[in-house]
């Protein structure tokens, strides 16, 4: 069993860029706040999608494109599949909510093109009060799975088409809301004593087992009496957290 030691390749991710004769990237010094060279993909996006590209700007050397909500999936698929852009690497999916109540909520996709060594930020603006819905891009990037789940968990954004959209950092029966929303208080919605009471009285079977057993399709194989017992505990847990939620609202 022998294996060659790791090699140092002459072809790097930026091979397309090198082939096109563009210089290798260097550390940016003296970046301007506004303005500067726009990402070349923006012109192609404008040509291809027209009015669906709401606007684009360059800030601190990074290009941001604001896209209409219904076109975002097509835009990302175009950017990924077109060889002249090849944004094959999804860096991040997240959201931004401003303190200013007038400003719309923003959903943010960070894309990177490994062959062209380019970075692009896509945004969809959702006015306050409208439902937070966006198409899922899990069919394009496998990495979108957990990133979208986190965005759903923290902001309550529903990604339509996501195969398994459930909470990821908070637990399934968490009822206090979505923690990174600006209307969510820093200490949570419930009082410290209520949070402590909840933490001490967690019925771990009722809270966790059902989900996992359902996921692994082992639930149906359980004895009938145990299934009933689990369902009861689950229902009791949900009812209790609903009650505390109501109590928290009254307070």
């Amino acid at each position: 069993m022998t294996r060659p030691l790791p090699s140092y390749p002459s072809t790097r991710p930026g091979s397309a860029r090198e082939a096109a004769g563009e210089p290798a990237p260097i550390t940016p010094h003296h970046v301007a706040h506004r303005g500067g060279a726009e990402n070349p993909s923006v012109a192609a996006l404008r040509e291809r999608f027209g009015a669906a590209i709401v606007r684009a700007h360059v800030m601190w050397g990074e290009t941001t494109v604001i896209v209409a909500a219904d076109a975002i999936h097509d835009v990302i698929a175009f950017l990924r599949d077109e060889p002249a852009h090849a944004y094959n690497y999804l860096v991040d999916v997240t959201a931004v909510e401003y303190r200013d109540a007038e400003q719309p909520m923003e959903l943010v996709w960070h894309l990177r093109s490994l062959p062209w060594q380019r970075f692009l930020r896509l945004k969809v603006e959702i006015p306050k009060g409208e439902p937070l819905v966006a198409p899922s891009i899990t069919d394009l990037y496998a990495s979108a799975d957990w990133l979208e789940r986190e965005c759903f968990d923290m902001f309550g954004v529903t990604f339509t088409g996501h195969p398994d959209l459930r909470r990821i950092l908070m637990w399934d029966t968490y009822r206090e809301g979505h923690p990174l929303r600006k209307d969510f208080p820093l200490r949570g919605r419930f009082s410290r004593s209520e949070q402590l009471t909840q933490a001490l009285s967690i019925d771990t079977v009722g809270r966790y087992s059902m989900t996992e057993l359902t996921i692994a399709e082992a639930f149906d194989d359980l004895p009938a009496d145990m299934r009933e017992r689990l369902a009861e505990r689950r229902a009791a847990e949900l009812a209790r957290s609903m009650r505390t939620l109501d109590a928290g609202d009254d307070a």
Binding site: R3, L5, P6, P9, V31, T94, M226
Partner: protein
């Protein structure tokens, strides 16, 4: 010993999901001896079995929980559960000034704390439009590469333990101790360093510190070679790692992997080369890549990365310039105490900085760095006040871990431990 005492001791075990006792029941024979009674064999009839690993399990490196569906000993499906260490760092950051967030960056990826400090202030400085001094740039490179070696040493040591080798762990932790002593001499803390400030560093390196670093640079490659010699051609090590958890280059890119995970699959993406920061393009170092993308290649790539980090450290020590450490900008850097107590203007700057904190212009930045785990980026959004609207950590280990269901499927249960170790997870960063 009465019979009742024994029943109390052994009779409190729970039952598993099938209603059977979780521990093997002990029976008491007539002479008082404890005898193990074999539990009845479950009638599986080819059914799949559900196995839970964690959240409190030594091989999950923290509080990761994996629910595995097994066919015999082969993994059919894996459902990871995270969030047990969720502290709400991003939420807390929205209520803190920029310099006050730096201690939180220590605590997310706590094996790479000084690297996170540097990464965070790089984002802040882009957001403030500040150009740091040449001496600060080189010192930060030294900090980041030290941090990379420390993190990789922990990874290598704990992976050895997971797979069953104990000796390299002790050798590697001894070297890590040397680095922690150096860090302690520089910033006063070992783990929670908080070493940087927006526009500079918290402290200048003390006299003679560079000699300590040079001694480490001389001595460490020998230890690394010894540990590498113990493992790289070791039959047990190769048997546990070769061909395990392999991902192709396309899959690795599609899963958003970064760092050694991606490079082991043959993609030479390194943030230091592709999106340079801190003048990394002027250092002479190589980016090792693997060919198979399995656990063994990840090991080879990480070991080689440590050697390359030593090369960068050698160059950084040689080129370290004299000069000021912090930028001369009263918007972000506190004036010297003597001036603050004697000159009106400096006192005002001091007061404003302490009470209000530095204020960046309206804007947003995403600044990635190559952390030991992969591409770590801080996405900062400012609305012009002294506290960020949004502080987003792009967690490399979170994205890397999301590929574990794909990597473990079809492998044996014991390989799950090796694959999980190869991801180099730190739950503090994943759960944040």
């Amino acid at each position: 010993m009465s019979r009742r005492t024994i029943e109390m001791a052994v009779g409190t075990s729970g039952v598993d999901q099938f209603g059977r006792p979780m521990r093997a029941p002990l029976a008491v024979r007539g002479n008082g001896a404890l005898v193990l009674e074999a539990p009845p064999e479950p009638e599986l009839e080819g059914d799949h079995m559900l196995i839970n690993i964690g959240p409190q399990h030594p091989a999950t490196h923290g509080v990761l929980r994996l629910v595995l569906e097994l066919d015999g000993e082969t993994v059919v499906r894996c459902v990871p559960h995270i969030g047990y260490l969720h502290c709400g760092f991003e939420k807390i950051g929205e209520y803190r000034q920029y310099n006050q967030i730096i201690p939180w960056t220590d605590r997310e990826d706590y094996l790479n704390s000084i690297g996170n400090n540097v990464a965070f202030v790089l984002g802040c400085e882009r957001l403030f439009g500040i150009q740091i001094t040449p001496r600060c740039t080189v010192l930060r490179v030294i900090a980041m590469e030290m941090s990379r070696i420390m993190s990789h040493l922990v990874w290598m040591g704990t992976t050895c333990i997971d797979i069953g080798a104990f000796t390299p762990f002790l050798w590697l932790y001894q070297e890590r101790e040397n680095l922690y002593n150096l860090l302690e001499g520089w910033v006063g803390a070992r783990l929670t360093t908080s070493a940087t400030r927006v526009g500079g560093m918290a402290a200048e390196v003390p006299d003679g510190w560079m000699d300590g670093l040079k001694a480490f640079i001389r001595g460490f490659p020998k230890t690394l070679d010894e540990a590498d010699r113990m493992l790289a051609r070791n039959g047990i090590w190769m048997g546990r790692t070769v061909g395990i958890g392999a991902l192709s280059a396309d899959e690795a890119i599609n899963y958003g992997l970064s760092g050694a995970m991606l490079r082991a699959s043959g993609v030479a993406y390194d943030v230091r080369k592709d999106v340079p920061y801190l003048d990394y393009e002027t250092y002479d170092f190589d980016v090792p890549v693997g060919t198979q993308g399995d656990v063994y290649d990840r090991y080879l790539v990480r070991v080689e990365e440590m050697r390359q980090s030593i090369r960068i450290l050698e160059q950084a020590v040689q080129r370290l310039p004299d000069g000021p450490l912090n930028v001369d900008d009263p918007r972000v850097i506190l004036p010297p105490k003597t001036r603050a107590t004697s000159q009106m203007e400096s006192m005002i700057h001091h007061f404003k900085l302490v009470m209000e904190g530095p204020r960046p212009p309206i804007g947003e930045v995403y600044v990635p760095v190559e952390s030991p785990k992969g591409e770590k980026g801080y996405y900062l959004v400012s609305d012009g006040t002294s506290k960020p609207v949004r502080w987003r950590i792009r967690p490399p280990a979170f994205v890397n871990l999301s590929a574990i269901p794909r990597m473990v499927e079809g492998h044996l249960l014991s390989d799950v431990i090796a694959i999980n170790a190869s991801i180099d997870i730190v739950m503090g960063e994943i759960d944040r």
